[in-house]
């Protein structure tokens, strides 16, 4: 356990000094600042006003940025460290491979999640000072959603890093994974399925295998519990899970996917050449 925390701490310190982290923090802090600046808390869309409106917009933007950012920065730094000889040296020290791999994940997870969460927390703090009502249920669920989103894409990023032997390959693979998820968001997928006369259940199941789609639908469900904007797909989803069931699924499935990817990555990492 001591080795794991030492490795996690090491990764945190390395990340805090990396350029990507500074840009990453700036982006999420900047989004919240801009949303306040443009008076989003004063606007009303779909009945949302105040901090709820801001949080809804924030999570939509986060969903667009966080996956690709986590994927690319994870594979770049892990594969880059391997290429640059960091693994050769640090893995010559007496640290177990499990402590090293999971320690890196823990450290990286803290670094990836903290700016996103702190930006949101900052918004809540500012709203409290301004006397704007804080929707704690939305804040709590969005926090959980962001936490599993970070876990999911970090796990996938670590899996790619374990497979790819060079930074270029790792980056290419990460981009391809993200693009695949993006292309198979509901509209494209459903369009293809309808043309191919596939049953709606299969189409929706395939769509919900895509973590990006799961997050998107879960975020929608908070301000549109009947998922009216999804059209007929909503019937299948709500029949299958129910409104509360889907909220739980949206947390459990991506978390499991991230953990499974990380675990497969760990076994591949352990089995192969380390540097």
């Amino acid at each position: 356990m001591k080795q794991l925390w030492l490795t996690a701490k090491l990764d945190i310190v390395e990340s805090l000094r990396a350029r990507w982290f500074q840009i990453y923090t700036l982006i999420f802090g900047g989004i919240v600042a801009l949303l306040f600046l443009f008076g989003l808390t004063e606007s009303r869309v779909l009945g949302f006003i105040g901090l709820s409106r801001l949080l809804v917009t924030y999570i939509q933007l986060t969903m667009a940025i966080l996956p690709i950012f986590v994927l690319i920065t994870t594979v770049r730094s892990v594969a880059g460290d391997r290429e640059a000889g960091v693994f050769e040296y640090l893995l010559s020290l007496p640290v177990s491979l499990s402590a090293w791999f999971w320690g890196k994940i823990v450290g990286r997870y803290i670094v990836v999640f903290a700016p996103v969460f702190l930006a949101m927390l900052g918004a809540v703090g500012w709203a409290t000072v301004q006397g704007i009502e804080v929707p704690w249920n939305i804040f709590g669920y969005y926090t959980a959603l962001l936490a599993v989103m970070a876990m999911c894409f970090l796990g996938i990023g670590m899996l790619i890093s374990a497979i790819a032997r060079s930074t270029d390959m790792a980056q290419g693979a990460a981009f391809l994974v993200w693009l695949t998820f993006l292309l198979f968001l509901d509209l494209i997928l459903l369009g293809v399925m309808i043309q191919g006369k596939v049953s709606p259940e299969i189409a929706v199941t395939l769509a919900l295998a895509n973590p990006l789609q799961v997050f998107r639908t879960a975020a929608l469900a908070l301000f549109d519990p009947q998922l009216i904007v999804l059209g007929p797909s909503a019937y299948v989803i709500l029949d299958l899970f129910g409104a509360e069931g889907y909220k739980i699924f949206a947390l459990a499935y991506p978390a499991a996917l991230g953990l499974l990817s990380a675990t497969i990555g760990y076994f591949l990492f352990r089995r192969g050449d380390l540097p």
Binding site: K2, Q3, L6, K9, L10, V13, E14, R17, A18, A84, G85, V86, F87, E88, Y89, L90, L91, S92, L93, P94, V95, S96, L97, R271, G272, D273, L274, P275
Partner: protein, 285 residues
Amino acid sequence: MIQFNNVAKTFRRARVLDGISLNIGLGERVALIGSNGAGKTTLIRCLLGEYTHDGAVAINGLDPRSNRTEVLGSIGFVPQLPPPLKMPVGQLIDFSASLCGTDPQRIHAIAKRLGLDVENILTRQFVRLSGGMKQKLLISIALGRDAKVLVMDEPAANLDPEARKIFFDLLAERLDDATMIISSHRLDEVSALVNRVIEMDMGKVVLDDQVADAVSMTATLACRIVLKRFEPAFAKALDGWNISSSDDSLTWTGSIAGPDRLRFLGIISRYTALVGDLSLAETGN
């Protein structure tokens, strides 16, 4: 102590190690030499448990891959190229010391002997240090614990002659209780440090020979060079060596570390036409 039994490693279709079998005993100081691509680094990485391979590697009977913490706890490693770590020097020392179960002050003390004042650079990023400072720090981390095996890849390449002398002294202090494997492209860089030479080529051991152990690592040689005429390039070449000139810049005197004699003569050989007289005399420890 260290056994390589028919070790082979293939990257895609390239066979980088081809059936290496070696036994290295306690107290042996091995020079692992060979040209680029000979397989030295791959062999070292197999020894450190970093590469999977065919055949078996064992240190005190333990496989370094499956007994990582136990085996690597007894190995001090200095890589050829310092890793580009962004962490501060202080954290690197604490991290290594904590994993290796040693006191960070031991690492500080060795660094100080090598001429590196760690206290002043604790908050500086490792990657921002000069090449020589990085090398001194990595040597300090490797030697600042009770390592039974020292694996060093071109360890003194970036050190100035003064630091090299201290480095040799530090190695001399570990002669009785450690096995050393020192990798280098050139034998003259490490010849005085070792008592066995293993040369590799195309993944195979092509030479495995014992070396006369006559050169003491702590010996010092008094040196005197008389030039026929002064040449600024000569003075520049001796910059950093503990040698100074008389008023007319024709007579140069000083001392050099015993294990550095071959390296020193290599430098002087470039100016053979200038040298009128040269003497090197062992002055003892």
